[in-house]
């Protein structure tokens, strides 16, 4: 595996400039935003002197380059500053909230993949059939409806009308006990702690928001799977496989699907990065304590440090995600391994 390792290292190195750029741009952008944090935190009744006092305490009276240098110094020590709204170090806030966002996104994505790939394959093997048409309808509906609308609709139907889902009030209802944190993923932690009731409660809370994200991501994945499968199914090597009398499942899975998966993996990476951002709205609708809602609250309060921390975290996750896609590519397609 030294080849894969070298590939990973090289990709990480090539990602450094982008991360550096993100650090600079977020710093400048947050300073350029309208709103004066000093005035905000001093409160509406504060005298100008009090506001100046706060400004000085926050270090905002210094020049931009000076502020930037001290920001870099913090980053180098692994710190991201302190949130003025929560009073906690931003790093701790983000580390506490990131698992919630990741659990939600991954659950939504998993849901989407398990639906989209079989749907795309079925649509590609029978183009023009009812299953192809219904796949198209689902896809179109999925992308046309904004996530907050799907989310509200699901809450209305499954919580308000049918009463099947619990209230959209975060990751666990008040009566469930939080399992000891190991991974930060409630589903996994509750299983590790052997708390079945907590697992069920967490799963129930997760169902609707995950479904919301899933519905949205089914569309691009199913369409890409269908298009890619159609191309591969008409290729010469699938004809060879059929001429060799290989079973339908071998032709479809081992020969066609594995080849068709490459563009699907790319799409998967894009959808994942998009979901990390789209989360913000879904987290709001379901009162999900993730990093999206954290960033929005900070932004409204002109609380620079959490916003910078959020964007930097996202950038690092994008880099990691793209790396993962590259590695997956190499696993699926031997030609990529050689080129790298």
């Amino acid at each position: 595996m030294p080849r894969t390792l070298r590939l990973i290292l090289r990709r990480l190195l090539s990602a450094l400039p982008s991360v550096a750029a993100v650090v600079v741009v977020t710093f400048v952008l947050t300073r350029a935003l309208p709103g004066d944090p000093a005035a905000y935190f001093a409160g509406p009744a504060a005298t100008p002197q009090a506001v100046e006092e706060v400004r000085k305490r926050l270090g905002l009276d210094r020049s931009l380059p000076e502020q930037f240098l001290s920001y870099l110094g913090e980053l180098a020590r692994g710190e991201m500053g302190t949130s003025l709204t929560t009073g906690q170090p931003v790093r701790d806030d983000i580390l506490a909230r990131l698992p919630a966002s990741l659990e939600l996104t991954l659950a939504g994505l998993l849901l989407a993949v398990t639906v989209a790939i079989p749907l795309g394959v079925a649509a590609a093997t029978r183009p023009g059939s009812w299953i192809d048409h219904s796949a198209r309808v689902v896809s179109t509906a999925g992308v046309s409806l904004p996530v907050f609308f799907t989310g509200l609709l699901l809450v209305y139907v499954f919580y308000y009308l049918l009463g099947w889902a619990p209230a959209p009030m975060g990751r666990l209802d008040l009566f469930a006990t939080t399992p000891p944190t190991v991974t930060g993923f409630l589903l996994i932690d509750s299983l590790l702690a052997g708390e079945g009731a907590t697992f069920r409660a967490a799963a129930a809370q997760l169902a609707l928001p995950a479904l919301t994200l899933g519905l949205f991501s089914v569309a691009p994945l199913a369409r890409m799977t269908r298009a890619s499968m159609l191309g591969v199914l008409s290729s010469d090597f699938v004809r060879t496989a059929r001429a060799s009398g290989l079973s339908r499942s071998t032709v479809l899975v081992t020969y066609a699907l594995r080849n068709a998966l490459l563009p699907v993996v790319t799409t998967l990476g894009m959808v994942f990065s998009f979901l990390l951002g789209a989360n913000v709205l879904v987290e709001k609708v379901f009162s999900w304590p993730g990093i999206g809602s954290y960033a929005i609250e900070a932004l409204v309060a002109s609380d620079y440090a959490p916003v910078q921390g959020f964007i930097l975290t996202m950038a690092v996750m994008y880099v990691g995600l793209n790396l993962l896609v590259d590695v997956l590519y190499g696993i699926i397609d031997p030609r990529v391994r050689i080129e790298a």
């Binding site: 010469d236 060879t240 001429a243 060799s244 009398g245 290989l246 080849n259 030609r335 050689i338």
Partner: protein
């Protein structure tokens, strides 16, 4: 002893622009161990015919009539399960562009193993050994290592050898070779054709060689069928076809083939082009290009004359 017989086979493609009648009344037979060449221009229906025999036609293809019998079994009406058991085991096919005819992301040895596991009833370990054996049989050096290679790591000629190993893995009785040497350089072409010939002789395997290269067909085939616009216009033993062609198209086709002593500039092209196979067509689809055409050609169905016992020609005014 007849291995394969195609009887009056007609096939059409339904397209948005109309129905393309790609094959009409095709009749051919093939004896065990025989090598039959099918020649004709691009678009004459050679590949369509071979795909129809293998049962791997495009989904848009509709069989309009006729029968394809392999050892007495009608392939057009046999259940899919029987056909799957036949394909790759009793009858196999190699294609042009071997590099894209192999799965690009599966080691070639594995692809041969897939066929063996499906048909030969071997265990995985046995299949692996047999796959390497097959690679050795098609004269691939260092077969043990090559079995782990991917198609993109091999040359076109090597890929075609792999295709042949894959096709012959289960010792089929019939091999259809669809332009097997197109896109390969001349030395490789000869080596590949020698290989196919040797392996066919060893196991008395019948071969259908589909090519637009008349010279190649002349060298390698016992009999040759000439196709034009979805019709078989002439079938004859190779020597007879070249010394005494009876269909005007065959004669023209021979005249276009480069041969020693004739300058390229002196080769006569065949006038006109293949007719559009949509809509109404005259009984003889060559009539519009034929210098011998007269009133008899448009009247009544296209005759099929046995000018000699094994020399058939579909022409109202044969040479």
């Amino acid at each position: 002893m007849t291995l394969l017989s195609v009887e009056n086979l007609s096939l059409a493609f339904r397209t948005r622009a109309g129905t393309v009648r790609a094959l009409e009344g095709v009749t051919l037979d093939l004896a065990k161990g025989e090598t039959l060449g099918i020649v004709g221009e691009s678009g004459s229906g050679k590949s369509v015919l071979s795909f129809a025999i293998m049962g791997i036609s495009d989904p848009a293809a509709r069989i309009a009539g006729g029968a394809v019998r392999f050892e007495g079994l009608d392939l057009l009406t046999a259940p899919a399960r029987d056909l799957d058991a036949l394909r790759g085991a009793e009858m196999a096919m190699i294609f042009q562009n071997p590099r894209v005819a192999l799965n690009p992301i599966r080691p070639v040895g594995k692809q041969i193993e897939d066929v063996l596991l499906r048909h030969a009833g071997l265990t995985r370990a046995e299949a692996r050994v047999k796959a390497v054996e097959m690679l050795a049989r098609v004269r691939i050096p260092d077969p043990e290592r090559r079995a782990k290679a991917y198609p993109f790591e091999m040359s076109g000629g090597m890929c075609q050898r792999v295709m042949i190993a894959l096709a012959l893995a289960c010792a089929p009785k019939l091999l259809i070779a669809d332009e097997p040497t197109t896109g390969l350089d001349v030395t490789t072409q000869a080596a590949i054709m020698d290989l196919v010939g040797d392996l066919a002789r060893e196991s008395r395997m019948a071969v259908i060689l589909i090519t637009h290269d008349l010279g190649l067909a002349a060298e390698r085939c016992d009999r040759i069928a000439v196709m034009h616009a979805g019709h078989v216009v002439e079938v004859a033993p190779t020597a007879d076809l070249f010394t005494a062609p009876r269909h005007p198209y065959t004669r023209r086709l021979i005249a276009t083939t480069p041969r020693p002593g004739v300058a390229l500039a002196d080769l006569e092209p065949i006038p006109g082009s293949l007719p559009d196979l949509r809509g109404d067509l005259p009984p003889c689809r060559y009539a519009a290009r034929c210098e011998r055409v007269d009133a008899a050609c448009g009247a009544g169905p296209l005759p099929r004359l046995a000018v000699r016992p094994n020399h058939l020609v579909a022409c109202a005014r044969p040479l």
